[in-house]
Amino acid sequence: MLSRTADNLYWIARYMERADTVARLLEVGSRISLLPSAHGYRSEWDSLLQATGMARAFAEKYGDPVQRNIESFLFFDRDNPSSIASCITAARENGRIVRTALTSQVWDALNTAFQELKQLEREERSGLELSRLTDWTMRHAAMLRGSIDATLLRDDGYNFLNIGYYLERGDNTARLMDVKYYVLLPRIDYVGSGLDNYQWTTLLRAMGAQRAFHWAYGGDVTAMKIADFLIRNPQSPRSLATCTAGLMNHLCRLAKAFGRETEAQDKARSLAAGIEAATVEAIFDEGLHEFLSRYIAESAQLANAIHASYLSGEMR
């Protein structure tokens, strides 16, 4: 297929997954802010923005991290390229360009999200509960995902969509964990405290994984268990293990179909191997933050390799 078409499909997936994550992030933030804390809710919102790399753009436009402004910034603001509105619009525009590579169900899912977004934008902001906005976003992300799985031909395009999904999801899981561990809990003596556990639970809840976690592990919520669940457990749908396995699977399918391997397969293989080899103990020895930062950096390198090998159109 055309490199540009593959690129558009890949970005549809990345943008929708990102919108989904931003919605989850908003949920984490609003729940954590309900908890009385020593340093007040403001700095917690600020921490969230820091972790996602959007703090500077926010401060320039809005100043203090007031919840109302953060909601605007993360949901509606078109100046913020990672806002839910921006992501959905970009996903739909990418979809419009490659209409012929999509089924009508997939297009419907994208287009409906976009049309409803325009409705939401016209509504009175004070009448919009945050939970309604986040639920709405996650519902549409799931609808798109579902229509892709149910109706799309399992061809190259399907592989590029999935590569986009897994790459973005792995990166986002790492970032969400990093928010919790590194930013939300600035003092080491909080580790293991009631506040710590509450924050972990909130994170699980935002990932829609609270019940799954309890089924899988039972007992108390601990940082070790959660790290195992979100990094190493192949049963967890958002774990890094699941994401890297997904990347490997779809990249290998491409290599087989095209009859050649590229640096993308090499990079994905080493990323997956790194996750598989890491024990929870080793992760905490290295430092969770360091481990996650390394994952995020390697995942970005993989994205570059995928771009150079398939999406740029420059290969010979």
């Binding site: 297929m1 055309l2 540009r4 209409r99 740029s312 290969m315």
Partner: protein, 469 residues
């Protein structure tokens, strides 16, 4: 002015429309509104947005769709078909000639100035004969009707006539909404168009191409108002829809950038203007084109459809001479008539035009979309005076034609059903063979009495039926 109603002659119904009388008679108002809403929802759902070439406008705009079909009998169509094919042959012969020896000019049948100083004449392709001697592979001929047997050609479109997606989608929607109509009437199918187009494009692959040619559609991009049409045609033909950035020249050939590496391209059905094709040959600032494309084209490494330079045949000033082309190249009498046209650049013609402005339609030679146009009988005195000044200033820029009594077809309006003026654009395919799908784009002026069918000015579309004999 008496207007020919294609359905009713007094109380009598003309034969092709016979079965539609009951259909419309038995459709209650509520059902009609329901169906109309359904049709619009379908158009919006499939995302068909549309603008006839050069009209611009909102890319997400829907063109109004009128459910009342326009019908031709098999024998009416047979004559139209002969006339359109004849015209398409003559136009292509003209193009090959004026980029070659220019016999028609040497013979004094058409002024050299109109051709060689025409902006659409591309010196860059002089001396080149495209594969199968075809310059214009899709000829869109705009036709109006004034009587049972009177058809006039308003203009020819030899470059990249748009609107064919409306022919295809209107039919799809009508068949979904009114299957009974298609059971009762024997209506020739139009959905063979994409297959015929693909065959036409493949048939003009360059000589250097061995095996099954790779065909692509070149679009200016998803912001273009006709993008839907480009993607529909690509989808129906099963070919890639590319932008300039997806193609590149390497050595003697053109390639597209794919996930598996470069893939050679043999035929480019381009939906961008000549000026943007190749920044090395035409506009150096073009971001849409493919550098080096014209060198590959001229040396027979790739085919471009329509061929660069085809536009010189559909200029409004050249239009006047199409009947002469038919006689000169084919030795036949033209089957379809031209609308009598006065060239305001000629002194005698200008004199006639100036003294008859209230009865004439005056158009810009290079204009399109119904803008920059004077419809004498509908114009105010001020508008006529304004045009008088324009004509005095730059007469060569205008042509004038008599106001034709365009035929009408019953059309759904708020009050029920009423006659509205229509025109017709069939799409003639020219490759190894010359083919015409029985149907076309019927545009209808929805405003009462209006003669302007352009979608930007209150025009809509209808499904166009040709009955099987």
């Amino acid at each position: 002015m008496t207007q020919f109603n294609e359905m009713y002659q007094g109380v009598d119904v003309r034969q092709p429309y016979a079965r539609l009388k009951d259909w419309v008679g038995h459709m209650p108002q509520e059902l009609r509104s329901l169906k109309q809403a359904e049709a619009e929802a379908l158009f919006r759902r499939i995302g068909i947005t549309f603008a006839v070439y050069g009209e611009g406008g909102d890319p997400d705009r829907l063109i109004p769709f009128d459910m009342f079909p326009r019908v031709f009998s098999g024998s009416e169509w047979a004559k139209l078909e002969r006339g359109i094919k004849q015209r398409a042959r003559a136009l292509n012969a003209f193009l090959v000639d004026v980029y070659g020896r220019g016999e028609i000019i040497r013979a004094g049948r058409i002024p050299a100035r109109l051709v060689y100083q025409n902006e659409a004449y591309e010196k860059a392709v002089a001396g080149f004969v495209p594969p199968k001697g075809v310059y214009s592979h899709i000829v869109g001929v705009d036709i109006v009707r004034t009587g049972p047997d009177d058809f006039y050609v308003l203009e020819d479109n030899c470059r990249t006539p748009s609107g064919v997606s409306y022919m295809l989608e209107s039919r799809e929607i009508m068949m979904r909404m009114f299957p009974d109509l298609f059971r009762e009437n024997r209506i020739e199918p139009v959905d063979t168009y994409s297959e015929k187009l693909r065959r036409t494009l493949s048939s003009v692959a360059p000589g250097k191409c061995k095996g099954e040619p790779t065909v692509v559609i070149l679009t200016p991009g998803h912001f273009n108002s006709a993008y839907y049409e480009h993607s529909l045609l690509a989808d129906l033909m099963g070919v890639e829809l590319v932008e300039g950035q997806d193609l590149f020249v390497d050595g003697e050939y053109v390639y597209m950038r794919t996930t598996e590496g470069p893939q050679r391209v043999d035929v480019i059905y381009r939906r961008i203007d000549d000026a943007y094709l190749d920044p090395l040959c035409f506009r150096p600032d073009s971001m849409l084109g493919i550098p080096g494309l014209m060198d590959v084209y001229r040396s027979g490494g790739v085919s471009i459809c329509s061929a660069p330079g085809a536009g010189v045949a559909d200029d409004k000033a050249v239009y006047t001479y199409v009947p002469d082309m038919v006689r000169f190249y084919l030795g036949e009498e033209p089957i379809l008539k031209n609308v009598p046209t006065w060239q305001c650049g000629r002194e005698d013609d200008l004199k006639h035009v100036l003294s008859n402005l209230p009865d004439l339609v005056v158009k810009e030679v290079h204009g399109s979309g119904g803008y920059g146009m004077l419809v004498g009988p509908k114009a105010t005195k001020e508008e006529i005076d304004r045009f008088r000044l324009k004509l005095a200033e730059d007469p060569g820029n205008y042509i004038a034609q008599p106001t034709l009594a365009l035929s009408t077809v019953p059309t759904f309006v708020d009050e029920g059903v009423a006659p509205r003026h229509v025109d017709l654009r069939p799409y003639c395919l020219v490759g190894e063979r010359i083919e015409l799908v029985p149907g076309g784009l019927t545009r209808v002026a929805l405003k009462e009495g209006s003669l302007v069918v352009n979608s930007s000015q209150g025009g809509g579309v209808k499904d166009t039926w040709v009955l099987a004999e």
